[in-house]
């Protein structure tokens, strides 16, 4: 076949254009997926997240859904936030005991109950639930079929506290590290991008925060609040944990700002905000995820340590560290130490493994070492 002069030859690869090269994050994910252990750790964290999200449906004394006087209610939502439990139950004097009251106050009512009838805040009494004995108190609460992980000195079920404590643990990990990441990335990218005196000031600030032992700073900050809530703890952990992230981000920015694409963007007249956030930051983000993952592990650790020392969120709030603290005063009750201790250990281990996997996936030097 000949092609007349002046016409372009028919292209024969119309149907299959060159495969699009993988994006940076897709590549990181592909590398991450290779490490089975990190993948398993990710699975564990996702499972924990599910437990946290569905905690009122797993264990609680409030029905997930119930029909009462012709209307549908979701009292279990009260475990997330007090106000989400409909005041109608307060008005009708349920006193938080649902099973008997529902049947006696409205014979036509029905309810879907959590898998396990136990409460993280109070001791379950005798026959609240047909055939269930009262929770043992004192040091009698050995794990049994009614109290899977035993009960503490005041008779509150440990399994219920642990399932509901998952919410606190994960929330603290994610939120406080989110705050750290926000502060760290902002300070690191400004210092790395502008250099000069901005860098001097910000780096010095980072050094000041780094030179105070973490627990000293945290205890000093926490003691300021008259009444500590879990949000205070998160804010304090966030405000003290950003130094590693800031240093790493600064390093990445120092390296990246010399690249051609930054000069290109500058030549096209992009402002510094735009260059930092939409050009440089996306390229620096993956390595920064590594300290973030380790940061979540350490935030969970420090939060339990604080509850353990009695500095965390106030006692009625279920938290793994608080259960551990109960165990400290009576060492014969091994279940108060073994179960929360294992939970903290596994969660920290999982986040460390994820961090490690990310490190290997984002650092080409380590990747080549695999050979």
């Amino acid at each position: 076949m000949t092609t007349p002069i002046g016409k372009t030859p028919p292209s024969n690869d119309v149907g299959n254009p060159a495969p699009r090269s993988r994006g940076y994050f897709a590549e990181v994910w592909r590398q991450f997926r290779r490490r089975k252990l990190s993948l398993a750790a990710l699975g564990f964290v996702l499972t924990l997240t599910a437990v946290a999200l569905f905690s009122p449906a797993i264990v609680g004394t409030k029905p997930i859904v119930c029909k009462y006087q012709g209307r549908l209610y979701f009292p279990a939502m009260g475990y997330f936030y007090d106000k989400w439990e409909n005041p109608v139950f307060m008005r009708d004097k349920f006193r938080r005991i649902y099973p008997k009251n529902l049947a006696s106050k409205d014979p036509k009512s029905w309810a879907v109950w959590p898998l396990v009838y136990q409460d993280p805040y109070r001791r379950v009494r005798e026959n609240e639930w047909e055939g269930r004995p009262a929770n043992p108190s004192g040091d009698q609460g050995v794990p049994s079929q009614f109290n899977l992980f035993g009960t503490n000195q005041s008779g509150v079920d440990v399994f219920a506290q642990m399932v509901h404590g998952t919410r606190v643990a994960l929330l603290v990990g994610v939120f406080s590290t989110g705050i750290s990441a926000l502060i760290g990335i902002t300070i690191g990218s400004l210092a790395g991008y502008f250099r000069g005196w901005v860098d001097v000031v910000l780096s010095r600030l980072t050094e000041v925060v780094m030179s105070v032992p973490a627990l000293v700073l945290i205890l000093a900050l926490i003691s300021i609040f008259e009444k500590t809530s879990i949000w205070h703890v998160m804010a304090v952990l966030g405000a003290t944990g950003w130094t590693g992230i800031a240093r790493l981000t600064r390093g990445e920015f120092l390296r990246l700002r010399e690249m051609e694409f930054v000069i290109g963007a500058q030549a096209m007249g992009a402002g510094w905000m735009r260059i930092i956030f939409s050009h440089v930051l996306p390229n620096a983000l993956a390595p920064v995820l590594v300290p973030v993952s380790f940061g979540i592990a350490s935030a969970i650790l420090v939060e339990s340590a604080l509850s353990f020392l009695g500095f965390g969120s106030p006692p009625p709030n279920p938290s793994w560290g608080a259960v551990l603290n109960n165990g400290r005063s009576n060492l014969q009750m091994w279940w108060l130490v073994v179960f929360p201790g294992t939970a903290i250990f596994l969660t920290v281990l999982a986040y460390n493994l994820i961090g490690e996997g990310l490190q290997e996936a984002t650092d080409p030097r380590l990747r080549n070492n695999e050979k």
């Binding site: 030179s211 205890l219 000093a220 003691s223 300021i224 060492l331 460390n352």
Partner: protein, 330 residues
Amino acid sequence: MLNYLIRRVLIGSVTLLAITAIIYALIRQMPGSPITLQLSEADPSKSISEEDFQRMRAMYGLDKPVHIAYFDWLGSLLQGDLGRSISRKQPVTKLIGERLGPTLLLSVPSLLLTYLLAVPIGLFSVARSHRPEERCLSTLLYMLYSLPTYVAALLLLVLFAKKLQGTSFELPLFGMTGDEYANLTPWRKLLDIGQHMILPVTCYTYSALAFMARFIKSNMEEVIRQDYIRTARAKGVSNFGVIVVHAFRNTLIPFVTELGLTLPGLLSGSVILEQIFTWPGIGRLFFEAIGERDYPTIMGLTLMFSLMTLVFQLLADILYAFVDPRVTYH
């Protein structure tokens, strides 16, 4: 070199000023004052007259605004005076001196143990890289690394309180000395303290050990790929010789830096571990001082912690230049 030193010391003092100022401002913001807390502890019903309260406030300098009080503190510090503890009626330096011994009693043996064990373990896992025994060891170390010390401490306590009490493995759980301590012979006293040290030192050591062994291994893995290692192997040096003589000596540089970062911890101890084992050390003093709002003690300890961190960082950097001839400071 001298220039560099002067610059570093100047920068360090500015950092120290900033730290103490921040902490001072923070602790003065805490609700409650040392005077009111002390009184309510002694007798909740007893209330102090307004006049007495003002007099005591003036005595401890609490009536002044924060920034002036801070400069007062700084002024007496420059004269070598850390002030007197409000809740314990003793000079802060004396208090710290009393608590330093017990803390060092835990941290020094644990540091020695850590290094004594970590170096062989690290070298072993490099020599046996990717073999089953190395995999087992590394996994174990990684698990230990992720095990929080307070969880480990509590698990040990439960084990010894529940299972081993009454057997020949019985160990004292809390405190530094037994009840009979005062009546013991010097040799027995030593033994008594030694027994009390076992559990806390174990907890101090295992976490540091896991970290150090991994640190040594990862440094070694980087060095072992260098050309000079291959040359040494090609010339017929034994595996042991290559790892100990050629490779390990070249990982000493990051080792030195790491040592500089660990040493401040020798003095600061661990708040949580000392609290669990009711060990009368520095960490516990800090925890108690925060609870008592004992400003002078908190400040003295903060100053000590941060000074240690900065000094050892500087020392590590200087040592760096000695270990690595490529590094010079101007």
